[in-house]
């Protein structure tokens, strides 16, 4: 065990923890209101560990749906992890399947983005990523269970809680920008995702945008020469 890596992973997970706790609490509260037991809520957060899917599952349970429709919806929502898991696989070429299974079971958008903000930290360092992911996962489970018990006491629209995860994603996105091509790709992906989301169901806009933008990235990289410096200050928003 490499305690140094584990500690680093736990510390890097803290911004995610700040985002997951209140969302977990909100989930726990809603799930409780939908009639799930405390144990079911805890187990769902432990085993499913997928924010949007869990909220949607609870809503579907409320509407009296169960079983297959929930499974299919969940599967489609989480297909985007195919892309993230593919990307992460590049950094773990020499690890045992058991370790990879553990890593992949806890893959989320947030932990993926955090890991990719500095890939040199994760390259063949499964302990770092495991610590980062487990800390985030624990925050999610803790949040859900707390929410199930005490959720009624909190106003989720207060204290800027709805903006915690968006702010985290914005910063993680900007940390990815290292050359001019990246700026272009951000603009393209931003525009495409809004366009696709306006007419495609579910999460297909994410998958389609990611595939097209990455393809464009390959096509464009020879035309846009790597810049000496980044343009100053621009946020590249549409």
């Amino acid at each position: 065990m490499d305690h140094h890596q584990i500690k680093k992973g736990m510390i890097d997970a803290l911004p995610i923890v700040l985002g997951y706790l209140p969302v977990g609490v909100a989930f726990g509260l809603l799930a409780r209101q939908a009639g799930l037991t405390y144990a079911e809520i805890g187990l769902m957060s432990l085993l499913v560990y997928a924010g949007a899917s869990q909220f949607i599952a609870v809503e579907m349970i409320l509407k009296g749906m169960a079983g297959l429709p929930i499974l299919i919806t969940t599967f489609l929502i989480n297909l985007r992890h195919l892309l993230m898991s593919s990307t992460l696989s590049l950094y773990f070429q020499r690890n045992r399947p058991f370790i990879l299974a553990l890593l992949s079971a806890q893959l989320t958008d947030e932990s993926f983005a955090m890991a990719m903000s500095n890939p040199s930290k994760i390259e063949n360092q499964p302990q770092y990523l495991l610590a980062l992911q487990s800390t985030s996962h624990l925050a999610w489970i803790t949040g859900s269970v707390l929410g199930a018990f005490f959720g009624g006491l909190i106003h989720f629209q207060s204290y800027g809680i709805p903006f915690a995860l968006p702010a985290l994603f914005i910063c993680l996105l900007l940390l990815q920008l290292r050359n001019l091509l990246h700026f272009y790709l951000m603009g393209i992906a931003g525009t495409l995702s809004i366009l696709f989301k306006s007419f495609l169901p579910g999460n297909w806009y994410l998958i389609l945008t990611a595939l097209i933008t990455s393809g464009l990235g390959i096509a464009l990289e020879r035309r846009v020469c790597p810049l000496k410096g980044l343009p100053k200050g621009g946020t590249g928003k549409e």
């Binding site: 911004p15 499974l71 800027g160 968006p166 910063c171 996105l173 990611a210």
Partner: protein, 94 residues
């Protein structure tokens, strides 16, 4: 549900880590983080919780200082706390 969330996370990790991928695909995978993060972030400002198109002025306004701050300072904690504070503050104003 646990199984269907696990499968898409698991398969690429285990199988792609065994195969040597062609360079082109590896290059494309490098652009996934930017693509995915952009498509998570930007639609947030233009769609409501039910997925219908509707500008979200609070989110949009709060995001501008966070974009600038994150770009200049590159601090995750700072961005999250600043974003929450501004969003909260905006709630008091209108």
């Amino acid at each position: 549900m646990g199984i269907v969330t696990f499968l898409p996370r698991f398969f690429p990790m285990v199988f792609l880590s065994r195969w040597a991928l062609p360079e082109k695909i590896k290059k494309g995978l490098e652009y996934f983080p930017i693509s995915i993060l952009s498509s998570i972030v930007f639609p947030l400002f233009f769609f409501n919780g039910e997925g219908r198109m509707e500008i979200q002025p609070h989110l949009l306004l709060s995001s501008i200082p966070v974009f600038l701050f994150a770009w200049k300072v590159k601090s995750l904690w700072g961005s999250v706390l600043l974003g929450m504070a501004i969003y909260w503050g905006l709630g008091w104003i209108f």
